[in-house]
Subunit: 320 residues, 2 copies
């Protein structure tokens, strides 16, 4: 375990990942309450909403209102997801968000075709257009990413060669656009990754692009998110997306395949217990997870909020 980082950055995705798929209508005030609670946990980046078309994702129709009402701390970056120019304009218009560009490509052509009615060339062109738009607005573009990096429900496994070819496409496109990629995100969009695949992928990318920081976005649909995150840590990865309580899917609802992200508080707990500094207040994270659970009105998958932190047992044992 000698490559474990001494410190990790955890980027909170829960409000965006979670509220977009919850079937119940969550009140704007409750979304804001959760973001405000998360702001007090030590997190440095929180994705608060998604600027998608309200007709397509009605639960995100209050995106602007959420952003307006959040009690923003100066030491936290608040972001919003945007997928097209209209979304970007809306995010910019709030005047309160940290806007950052990324060149993300999808490793599976079948996923693009079946899920987004797009081709790899079409996606590449769309990314070019977006980056040029961001550049014209003076917005930094410094990240790249690969979606469906490990496997795809329509295409099956993504072999390492394909992943590496997609990574190369991302860097080629960046070169073409004058973008310097500092962070490369690998997204296990459909939860196909294993610890072994994570280690292979991170190792291959690190050998080829030693100066790039690797970030992982891990879905927990088949329960492997934390084990996959451990494999990332063992390879020195120190940047992770995570979701409070494991928000991002409702395992007790109809859409079984859509389980949540790596659970923020469970991952932070594992890191802290191994001496990896997260900069996070575990007690407050657990309280935020409990709040998220009350807001969505059904159990969320995170374990530590049920099993309890060890700090209290330690304190009692020391006192005894």
């Amino acid at each position: 375990m000698s490559d474990l980082p001494s410190r990790v950055t955890i980027n909170e995705d829960g409000p965006r990942e979670g509220f977009q798929i919850e079937s119940a209508t969550i009140a704007t005030g409750q979304k804001v309450e959760l973001v405000d609670a998360l702001s007090e946990t030590g997190l440095k980046e929180i994705q608060v909403t998604s600027f998608v078309h309200p007709k397509r994702v009605p639960s995100m129709a209050d995106a602007e209102e959420v952003v307006r009402l959040v009690r923003m701390r100066s030491d936290v970056r608040y972001t919003g997801l945007f997928l097209n120019e209209q979304g970007l304009r809306r995010a910019l218009a709030t005047g309160r968000l940290h806007i950052r560009g990324s060149i993300s490509l999808t490793a599976s052509a079948a996923f693009l075709a079946r899920n987004q009615n797009a081709t790899p060339d079409g996606q590449r062109q769309a990314r070019c257009d977006m980056v040029r738009l961001l550049q014209s607005e003076g917005i930094p573009v410094d990240a790249g990413g690969v979606n469906a990096a490990f496997g795809c429900n329509f295409e099956g496994e993504i072999p390492l060669e394909r992943l590496m070819a997609t990574v190369r496409d991302v860097f080629d496109l960046a070169d073409e656009l004058g973008v310097r990629i500092e962070t490369l995100g690998l997204s296990d969009t459909m939860a196909w990754a294993t610890p072994k695949a994570i280690r292979s992928a991170v190792g291959a990318i690190r050998s080829r692009y030693p100066d790039v920081r690797i970030s992982l976005h891990l879905h927990d649909t088949r329960g492997l998110a934390l084990a996959n995150a451990l494999a990332g840590l063992q390879m020195g990865v120190d940047d992770f997306d995570a979701s409070i309580g494991g928000l991002g899917g409702c395992p007790f609802a109809a859409h079984k395949g859509a389980a949540g992200n790596l659970c923020t508080e469970d991952f932070a707990f594992m890191c802290e217990e191994m001496g990896i500094d997260t900069g996070l207040d575990l007690e407050r994270l657990v309280a935020a997870a409990e709040l998220a659970e009350r807001i969505v009105g059904h159990p969320l998958p995170g374990s530590v909020k049920m099993g309890g932190l060890l700090s209290r047992y330690r304190a009692a044992a020391n006192a005894a």
Copy 2:
């Protein structure tokens, strides 16, 4: 990940771990139905019940009846837990169980004192008495174990030195009793282990006792069971207890601290996806987990039964 074993043995504990803590009365026929389903999954060892006093654990009062009704396969070992002479006599009287002796000590004196009103010396004496009884009955004793191997809710962390001292006590006692320990089980009874602690412990034991097979019994109270199992695999551990569906605790009931074991089907899925042979039929395991969930009448924590295996997606992708 070069130390990953090519094959692992998974010992199923679900019927015993699960039914003993479920508050609802589970019909004997349903327990038998679950064991019978598990028998068809490729598992080679299943712990079917516990011979404890029916007044203390009423849900296990039907232990003999369960054992009598199970449709036993000749290639599966069926075991039952016994903690004292009376339990052993009951297990023996069934005439249908694989009885095996183990010398297990507890690493935490505080746990012994607070939970069992016992001392380390008292526990050692009780183990001596039990082993001598087993020997007089001609029952093989070939295993050792350490409970609360990583931490204790009453005592806090179990440092590696303490764990190693307890392991040494186990081997000393075995020497004294003429027992040769082939397998040493480490039980994370109260879910204090981390992947880092697992690696340290397994490494230290392996250095000192290179010929002993190490086995892990991991509780998932704080969500780390699968990551801890991965750490074990990475150290070459190839023997694990697990529990179908994650049976062994009810995270949605009052006793929050009692979450289940490492989930059999999730662990088997992770192993198989990394090319580690489990000898298990994943589809049948998932079906057994679904059956367990129907029997207990509330959601069980396992993820793969909700997220789905990858085999069907692969088949569809190959067909496309």
